[in-house]
């Protein structure tokens, strides 16, 4: 029950809509992508707008999760609040996952906005065969974004110049995870890497849910399975991290 309260407090207290970058990612970036889609459609006429509306939402969702969850632990270091959190009875894992989950939920705003912009500003007609299955696939995607955010928070915790590294992986992940190009059309090595990322399966499930492709259930199950592997990995790494911190007393040891 405490984790639910923590999640609510994370959303309420730490979602920073005043941050200009987050404002751009959540509210304006989908608008820019949808404008491009609009002109593409005007030029070519045969653009799959459903897929591109979802793609523009996915890019903004990923961007928000990357920058918010990715910085969540390092910002605690900068604030000097990390030791207060580590010393509290709530485990560090619970604290970080509540941050990652809260950021993934907030990222959902951009998905909703993308559909609103697409329908009411650009006049796209959206064809989703079964909304319940689509919502379900989005939930699976949110879970996968959450665990990826959790891993990013841990990985980036030790970096001082965290934003440089975030910029470095931003676009490659969009390309690898099949936002624009289906993963099976990528070179074999990259394909293997892509299938190791839970988001790839979540994104695949969302696209398949739009078309009611029967493979969507498999994609959802695999996404949840891979996400859980990441989750267990995160539990292990965080425990190890706490131990290393206690042994060495400084982040440099990480």
């Amino acid at each position: 029950m405490n984790i639910i309260y923590l999640l609510v407090r994370e959303i309420k207290y730490f979602t920073n809509f005043q941050n200009k970058m987050y404002q751009f990612l959540l509210f304006f970036q989908p608008l820019i992508f949808l404008t491009i889609v609009y002109f593409l459609q005007q030029l070519r006429g045969d653009v799959n707008t459903d897929r591109f509306v979802v793609a523009s939402a996915l890019i903004s969702m990923w961007s928000y999760v990357l920058y918010s969850s990715g910085s969540s632990l390092v910002s605690q270091r900068w604030n000097d609040t990390l030791k207060l959190i580590i010393a509290a009875p709530m485990s560090l894992f619970q604290v970080i996952i509540s941050k990652a989950f809260s950021n993934s939920i907030i990222a959902l705003i951009t998905m909703v906005l993308s559909f609103i912009y697409a329908k009411f500003i650009f006049g796209f007609s959206i064809h989703i065969e079964n909304y319940y299955l689509f919502y379900l696939s989005v939930l699976v995607l949110i879970f996968s974004l959450c665990v990826v955010g959790l891993i990013l928070a841990i990985v980036f915790a030790s970096f001082q110049n965290v934003f440089d590294y975030q910029n470095l992986i931003h676009t490659p992940i969009i390309l690898i995870c099949g936002v624009f190009i289906p993963v099976d059309q990528l070179p074999a090595v990259i394909e293997y890497i892509a299938y190791g990322i839970p988001m790839t399966w979540g994104i695949k499930a969302v696209y398949e849910a739009i078309d009611l492709n029967t493979m969507m259930y498999t994609s959802m199950i695999v996404s949840i399975f891979v996400s859980f592997i990441y989750l267990f990995l995160a539990v292990f790494i965080i425990r190890k991290m706490e131990m290393v911190l206690r042994q060495h007393g400084k982040w440099g040891a990480m």
């Binding site: 923590l6 730490f14 609040t81 030791k83 207060l84 009875p89 206690r246």
Partner: protein, 315 residues
């Protein structure tokens, strides 16, 4: 006989550096009794914060043993954390965009305080530290003193039996520092054992029941402030008020040890110094060669005098 709540035996801690191991704590042993205010005093890098980090279970010792409330700091850290809390000095450790009340709610959740009890607890604690009127102000607008008091309120969320205060008054103005000292006294009166590190000797003298001087990772002296001061009673410390004719000549003179000259309104000065064996009449007649002695008296040993003397000795 009071119960021992902290038991430290031969505690040692190395830090691995590129240029080799640095000893932060070297076979330190001491204990703290229940309800005491125990002061750890020493220069920067002496090992005070390392000691506190180990006792708050944030750092593992390299060797030796430390028990807090009878629990081992290495193997029973979680149980210890449930019963202690800490405050580090300075303005950091807060979320500036939150209000004081939101900050407290967040930490209540981290400390697993029952949801229905949180509001009453927060009101009580913010009232105790004098921040009730500022509870809805964002922390960015708080003064240093208010942030420190908020830290104290945060540290009381889990009703700790032991509270570690690491330089809590650092950077505070005199009023803010006094408010904080009053708060520490109030907490001590409530039966909370307090471990305090500070650079301010007067503060340590006012607040602490016992004090340990630590230098280069070793405890050099331990005892009640009065005992420590009495151990330096052999020092002949004097102060004098003079109307000086030859300031430079006095400052260059080697007769007195640790001579400090505070210039008041010209030509008056306030002197502090130490002598080995001169009597008051001899001191007066010696000083007369530099000007007129208005007042001379033997000074009572302060904790600062004892600290300077004993730490110099330890070095």
């Amino acid at each position: 006989m009071l119960d021992i709540v902290i038991e430290v035996k031969n505690l040692t801690r190395f830090y691995k550096l590129k240029e080799g191991n640095k000893i932060a704590l070297d076979n330190v042993s001491f204990d703290v009794k229940q309800g005491e205010v125990f002061g750890l005093l020493g220069p920067n890098g002496a090992g005070k914060t390392t000691t506190i980090k180990i006792l708050t279970t944030l750092l593992l010792p390299t060797a030796g043993e430390a028990k807090v409330l009878g629990l081992d700091v290495v193997t029973e850290s979680q149980k210890i954390r449930d019963n202690i809390n800490f405050v580090y000095g300075g303005e950091r450790g807060v979320y500036g965009r939150l209000t004081g009340k939101e900050y407290m709610y967040y930490f209540c959740t981290l400390y697993k305080v029952k949801h229905r009890e949180q509001q009453a607890l927060i009101e009580r604690l913010l009232d105790l530290v004098g921040l009730k009127d500022a509870e809805n102000q964002i922390i960015h607008t708080y003064s240093k003193g208010m942030i420190q008091r908020l830290h104290i309120a945060r540290s009381l969320i889990n009703e700790p039996k032991l509270l570690f205060l690491d330089e809590p008054t650092i950077g505070l103005d005199p009023v803010g520092a006094k408010l904080l000292r009053d708060l520490v006294r109030e907490l001590s009166n409530r039966g909370i054992t307090i471990i305090l590190t500070t650079h301010y000797m007067q503060e340590a003298d006012d607040l602490c029941d016992r004090i340990a001087f630590i230098r280069d990772g070793k405890i050099s002296t331990i005892g009640e402030p009065i005992q420590i001061k009495e151990s330096c009673n052999h020092l002949n410390l004097y102060e004098a008020f003079m109307s000086l004719d030859q300031t430079n000549a006095l400052q260059k003179d080697k007769m007195f040890k640790n001579l400090e000259v505070d210039e008041l309104k010209d030509p008056f000065v306030h002197l502090k110094f130490e002598t080995d064996s001169l009597a008051e009449t001899e001191i007066t007649s010696y000083l007369e060669q530099f000007g007129q002695v208005l007042k001379l008296r033997k000074r009572e040993i302060s904790l600062e005098d004892a600290y300077i003397y004993l730490m110099k000795d330890a070095g």
